[in-house]
């Protein structure tokens, strides 16, 4: 480890140090100053984002080949930090209202972000596993953070049991791949796989399959999605918002590193399997969302469906000349998914008032009572459905065009049909807000922090939809970076 290594890793170091400082501050701070911890969290995240923008990009591996900081990991870090920052904004007053305002909450969000960042830049299977655990364990705790509510306890326990099972599968996959190739460096494994597939095909297929299952579980890909609706519903809403974003982005970062470009040359069957998973996820996620009347469950199924679109980009990244386009699409979509999902959960937090379990009928006539919040929600719903002029449309356009250029017409058709289905349940929310007479007088919970978070994400979704080049001009550099 050299000083340069430390400099390149400064975003991760800043996030870690902020988490530790928050733990200490929480012990010694008087109760009335606890609210400043959210501000401190934001400060740490902004500092890390600034450091992230200035780190020198090189594809040389760091710390004995454990990490590789390139343009892709830099952009992924930005996504994780944006997600954590908005999640901190949404949490600040929510945790206080629910009586769970403790410093650990912010420390856990920061540590989870650290895990996602390590996953995004890992060049080694052990690092992927460590990153995944650092990402997941705080999420288990966050989902059970409302200790007095049995739904939250159930969510935490369910997530913990299923999640640790998935981690075990992933670890077994790593062990098998190590046995087959004799290496845990991702680039060395990819180089040695063709020979290993002739010598010990069973080890390679079982190992790769277990890796895929473990990551698919964390990303909530059908058929490994069963935990998602229950956990999303039971967890505190601000934790759900963070979870929906961080776990998904982290898992897709690792999927990109492991099953990204290069898989096709080694094994075309693996690409077919990923394509089937993508199709299943898009169809099932969207159809199951049709029946949901609880807003948090609806957003949970919506996040499952979006995992399908993201997997589609991984499939498209396999055709060599287009890898850059598809990775660009994936990165852009991940950023936009982060913004619109966090924004939608922010509106749910506002509309929940002091209660729980916001249902669709609570949104009846919402626009006449709170036109601004309803307007923001309409933007998020339209963007999630992928309708212009929002950023969700640009993201879907990038991914589907990459898929069509890669020649996967069937998958692209499934994707488009699934998006058409999704329009129904997203716009139904808008319909309830604008067309239904106001029946429920559920008081909203107005908080400056949350309104700021919702407003920023809504503006970003609109601006990136009208001027996508703001983001896109950063992306070609990201995609031309070396992938192992």
């Amino acid at each position: 480890m050299t000083l340069n290594d430390l400099f390149v890793l400064s975003p991760e170091i800043i996030v870690t140090v902020s988490a530790l400082i928050i733990l200490i501050l929480d012990l010694f701070l008087a109760a009335e100053f606890k609210r400043s911890l959210a501000g401190f969290t934001l400060f740490g995240i902004v500092l890390a984002a600034v450091a992230n923008a200035f780190i020198p990009i090189g594809s040389a591996p760091l710390i004995q080949g454990m990490l590789r900081v390139d343009a892709i990991s830099q952009f992924l870090n930005l996504i994780f930090l944006v997600g954590a920052g908005v999640a901190a904004l949404l949490s600040a007053d929510y945790v206080k209202r629910q009586g769970i305002a403790r410093g650990e909450y912010y420390a856990l969000i920061l540590l989870s972000t650290l895990g996602a960042m390590l996953m995004g830049s890992s060049a080694n299977l052990i690092m992927i596993f460590l990153g995944l655990e650092t990402l997941s364990i705080p999420l288990y705790i966050l989902s059970a953070f409302m200790r007095t509510r049995s739904a939250s306890q159930e969510a935490g326990l369910k997530y913990f049991l299923l999640g640790s099972f998935a981690s075990a599968l992933l670890l077994y996959g790593i062990a098998l791949l190590y046995g087959a190739t004799g290496s845990i460096q991702i680039d060395e494994i990819l180089a040695k796989l063709p020979a290993a597939m002739l010598a010990t095909p069973l080890f390679v297929y079982a190992g790769g399959g277990l890796l895929l299952v473990g990551l698919a579980f964390k990303a909530a890909v059908v058929p490994f999605h069963m935990w998602a609706p229950d956990v999303y519903e039971g967890a505190p809403t601000s934790a759900t918002a963070f979870m929906a974003v961080a776990a998904k982005a982290g898992a897709f970062a690792a999927l990109l590193r492991l099953f990204g470009p290069g898989l096709m040359q080694i094994d075309s069957a693996g690409v077919v399997i990923i394509g089937i998973l993508a199709g299943l996820t898009m169809i099932f996620g969207n159809i199951a969302a049709l029946a949901q009347l609880n807003l948090k469950r609806l957003l949970a199924y919506s996040s499952i469906a979006h995992a399908g679109y993201l997997l589609l980009a991984i499939t498209a990244a396999q055709s060599t000349p287009l890898a850059g386009t598809a990775i660009n699409g994936l990165l852009f979509y991940l950023l936009i998914y982060t913004l619109m999902t966090l924004g939608a959960f922010g509106v749910v937090i506002l509309a929940e008032g002091r209660g729980e379990n916001l249902s669709l009928s609570d949104f009846s006539g919402f626009a006449s009572r709170h036109p601004w919040i309803a307007g923001a929600m309409a933007i998020f719903m339209v963007s999630l459905a992928g309708i212009p002029p929002t950023a969700g449309f640009i993201g879907k356009f990038l991914i589907f065009s990459a898929v069509i250029q890669a020649g996967e017409i069937g998958l692209a058709l499934i994707g488009v049909f699934a998006s058409v289905i999704s329009v129904y349940y997203y716009l139904r929310v808008v319909y309830y807000m604008y067309m239904r007479p106001s029946t429920s007088e559920r008081p909203v919970f107005v908080s400056g922090f949350i309104v700021l978070g919702v407003g920023l994400t809504a503006i970003a979704v609109l601006v990136f939809g009208i001027y996508p080049s703001v983001i896109l001009q950063w992306l070609p550099q990201a995609a031309s970076a070396t992938l192992p």
Binding site: L20, L23, I24, L27
Partner: protein
């Protein structure tokens, strides 16, 4: 390549063989006069009370977790101490960072009352 493992194989056979011989010799040669008191569960010489399948207080769990952390810390410190001189200052600073993070965790557990029984 396999011949390099021959000594390990011999060791395994010897270890399991001697263990089995001793156990069976004990069974064959020793007198066996069981009584109710002798076949009761051994609880450090005190009369056994209750069953072994009891519910434990959650505090044992917390203590066990804190123990695990510091157990692993020692597992890291021993090899570090052996090659301490070759690592030089860089190794010293790295270990201090590691210990610093652990101490923050310890402080946290302490202030949160993980060590008070009541």
């Amino acid at each position: 390549m396999l011949s390099e493992y021959l000594s390990i194989l011999i060791y395994m056979i010897l270890a399991s063989g001697i263990t089995l011989v001793v156990i069976f010799a004990n069974k064959l040669l020793g007198p066996s006069r069981p009584s109710a008191r002798k076949s009761a569960a051994y609880e450090s010489g005190i009369k056994p009370t209750g069953t072994a399948r009891e519910r434990f207080h959650i505090r044992y769990h917390v203590i066990a977790m804190i123990f695990l952390v510091f157990d692993l810390e020692i597992a890291f410190i021993y090899p570090w101490a052996v090659i301490y001189k070759t690592l030089g200052w860089a190794g010293f600073i790295e270990m201090m960072i590691f210990l610093g993070i652990l101490i923050i965790g310890f402080l946290y557990a302490w202030k949160r009352g993980a060590f008070t029984w009541e």
